[in-house]
């Protein structure tokens, strides 16, 4: 009512929605619906975090216990247990519990007793290997003469140390950045500043075509062609290693880094270049000393976003890195990354088991790392655009 009498209020909408002169109910409803649907991107980012972290929750909170040595309850005491306790003891879901009769549960309890007799008799079997202590720090396992970090999820005593995986991811990413970023930045400078406009029209889409090659095809190319080529060139031992995977990964990030850097360089106002040229600078001096410094945050953001892409890339490293989880900083060693571990192992885990939850845990870590790098890159680009438009 008041909005009709006050002309100022009419143009100020709710949460950025401007209502028109004649706010027909259908119009109003459509606007609200459009607004609500447009929130789905936010909802999805939120859901991704919540539901990936949800599967890892018991490990995050330290509730999971992988210790193989457990107190065993004799079968005769079954009647004294409360239904809830019995369900937990046998590791059943409520649905499974409801469908089971006494006899089956009795035999399950006997199985538990039998299983407890087969537990290996060493101190490692008593450890809860899914607690943070064993996930992130080296430990001296039985049979080793010094503390080590091991990822060995399928063994009598499962070992889930994530250090080898993180080192693997960092190695491959480092190679990818060292190879891909200079190439992509050089190309971005050339295409945006130095190339003649009529070539530009072809060069930019040409490089963007690289983004059209699916990562599984890049992985295939690295596995079948690049690996043999580099082995012939450098003569290293293991055919698939961090170097091969890193080069292929570099190819995957080049289009991303190129697009963002090119965009940042192009958004530097034409007048900057023109002023520099008018003062007698050559084209490369204008590009190197005027445009590049002005666009530097954008170029940096391109590298940051390239990092995010390289850390998260899956199929390339799954196929080309060799997948041996060893702690080594050598680029010529076979290596296993965080993403490849999830892709290779999740299908074989027991649903809801410790291994399954740990894989979701490293997935959550991966999400957090890429979220932060994307967010940082995004903020930098946003600020740069504002500054170049003269708003700060």
């Amino acid at each position: 009512m008041t909005s009709n009498t006050n002309p100022m209020r009419r143009s100020v909408g709710w949460l950025g929605l401007k209502r028109g002169h004649q706010a027909h109910p259908v119009e109003w409803l459509a606007e609200k619906a459009i607004f609500l649907i447009s929130l789905s991107a936010i909802l999805m980012v939120f859901l991704i975090f919540v539901f990936v972290a949800r599967e890892a929750w018991p490990v995050l909170r330290g509730q999971a216990n992988s210790s193989l040595v457990r107190p065993v309850i004799p079968v005769e005491q079954m009647d004294q247990l409360s239904p809830q306790k019995l369900q937990d003891y046998l590791g059943l879901t409520p649905k499974q519990y409801a469908l089971m009769d006494q006899e089956t549960m009795k035999s399950l309890m006997e199985v538990k007793i039998e299983a407890s007799k087969e537990v290996p008799d060493d101190k490692d079997a008593r450890l809860n290997t899914v607690s943070w202590r064993y996930l992130a720090r080296p430990y001296q396992w039985t049979g080793y003469d010094h503390p080590v970090s091991i990822w060995q999820p399928v063994s009598p005593v499962p070992k889930f140390n994530i250090i080898p995986l993180i080192i693997g991811s960092l190695k491959a990413t480092l190679v990818a950045l060292v190879f891909g970023v200079p190439l992509a930045l050089g190309a971005a400078v050339y295409v945006s500043q130095l190339a003649a406009p009529r070539y530009r029209e072809w060069l930019k889409p040409g490089i963007e075509l690289l983004a059209g090659i699916p990562s599984v095809v890049l992985g295939f190319f690295a596995l079948i062609v690049l690996a043999s080529f580099f082995q012939g060139l450098f003569g290293y031992q293991s055919r698939l290693n961090a170097f091969v995977a890193g080069i292929a990964l570099g190819l995957a990030i080049i289009p991303v880094v190129f697009s963002i850097a090119e965009d940042a360089l192009t958004s530097v106002p034409r007048s900057y270049t023109q002023a520099a040229l008018a003062l007698g600078a050559s084209r490369w001096q204008a590009a190197w000393q005027v445009v590049l410094p002005a666009a530097l945050p954008g170029v940096f953001a391109a590298a940051v976003l390239g990092f995010g892409r390289a850390v998260g890339e899956t199929m390339v490293v799954l196929m080309a890195s060799g997948n041996a989880s060893i702690v080594s900083w050598s680029l010529w060693d076979s290596t296993r990354t965080v993403t490849a571990t999830i892709a290779a192992e999740l299908a074989e885990t027991v649903f809801g088991g410790n291994h399954y939850r740990i894989l979701f845990l490293i997935g959550t870590l991966l999400f957090v790392v890429t979220f932060l790098s994307n967010w940082a890159g995004d903020v930098i680009v946003h600020r740069l655009k504002k500054r170049l438009e003269g708003k700060i």
């Binding site: 447009s38 190439l183 295409v191 060069l203 699916p214 295939f220 190319f221 050559s282 999400f367």
Partner: protein
């Protein structure tokens, strides 16, 4: 006082030569690598590509060079991307409409939506796979089973299926769709909107009858880019619906499916004899590239035309 610099360079400008040369070398090296990859694959794959290979189903032994084909994989991949576009196109277009037509650039809602879109674009594909499993299958699917079929012990919805794979891919390609549509909406001259409003059309009418028809090529580009991106992705469907082998084609939303990209992965890593299966591996890669790459080329061409149009407008 130093002498004023002369405008004409008397000496050969080595710095300029080096800098321009290096950046040009980087550009052409990237293009050369692209050409080598495509050339190598096409050269090796073309000879083993035959009509029979494309139309034949696959036997139980999918590594048999003479009998196996990729028909089920083509159908599976096509089905999942078509299903995906049914979900992603409307949501993407509506979000883009909100961002360009309704939202004010400075409002908090717009900034958060933009941030979310950019972030979604950078989420690793394997995390989408985990999300599809954790949300669509373990949460939505299992709850659907609990509500719709409480008596049946074996899950119908709460297991990997083409529906869940498509939905996962739809979430993944949402940013592609939004960004492409937004770009084409911004390329439409403001005068068209103003003219429509001046003739008495409401905002919704303007959007539906003036803006959207003009933006159609851009929306098509977005959809094609999203499809081409999704068709080549393997990581998000590893746990949400792709099958190693299936005797039949998928017939319902809850079936699993065979997939071209996943098949490339299987052929190149699980083959008992890589030398022997090399021909079918290359041929499968060619089929996958024809599907994704050809779509991408079409999209880039349309996009280049839209960009040219936009430059003309501004």
């Amino acid at each position: 006082m130093s002498r004023p610099r002369s405008f004409a360079a008397e000496r050969f400008d080595y710095g300029s030569f080096l800098f321009t040369g290096l950046t040009a070398a980087a550009t052409f090296l990237i293009l050369a690598i692209l050409a080598v990859i495509l050339g190598h694959i096409l050269l090796h794959g073309w000879e083993s590509l035959s009509w029979r290979f494309i139309t034949a189903g696959t036997e139980k032994d999918m590594f048999d060079v003479h009998k196996t084909g990729v028909f089920p994989m083509i159908i599976g991949t096509a089905a999942r991307v078509i299903l995906m576009s049914i979900f992603v196109v409307p949501v993407g277009v509506i979000t883009a409409i909100y961002l360009t037509e309704y939202a004010r650039a400075s409002s908090i809602a717009t900034r958060i939506i933009r941030g979310a879109v950019n972030n979604l674009a950078g989420v690793p594909s394997i995390v989408f796979g985990l999300f599809g499993l954790g949300f669509f299958i373990n949460f939505v699917g299992q709850n659907m089973d609990a509500v719709l079929r409480p008596d049946s012990p074996d899950p119908l919805w709460g297991k990997p299926a083409i529906l869940w794979a498509s939905l996962t891919l739809a979430v993944m390609t949402l940013p592609v769709m939004i960004v492409a549509t937004e770009e084409s909406l911004r390329a439409i001259p403001q005068g068209l909107r103003e003219g429509s409003l001046a003739l008495g059309a409401t905002k919704l009418q303007t959007i539906l009858r003036v803006v959207l028809p003009q933006a159609l090529p851009g929306i098509m580009t977005g959809a094609i880019l999203a499809i081409s991106r999704a068709a080549g992705e393997v990581a998000p469907i590893l746990f949400t619906g792709a099958a190693y082998y299936m005797a039949q084609l998928p017939t319902s939303l809850t079936d699993q499916f065979m997939d071209l990209g996943y098949h490339v992965f299987v052929l190149s890593t699980q083959s008992p004899n890589i030398e022997q299966t090399r021909p079918i591996l290359y041929a499968t890669v060619v089929v996958l590239l024809l599907l994704t790459f050809a779509l991408n080329v079409v999209a880039i061409l349309i996009r280049a035309r839209i960009r040219a149009k936009m430059r003309a407008v501004s």
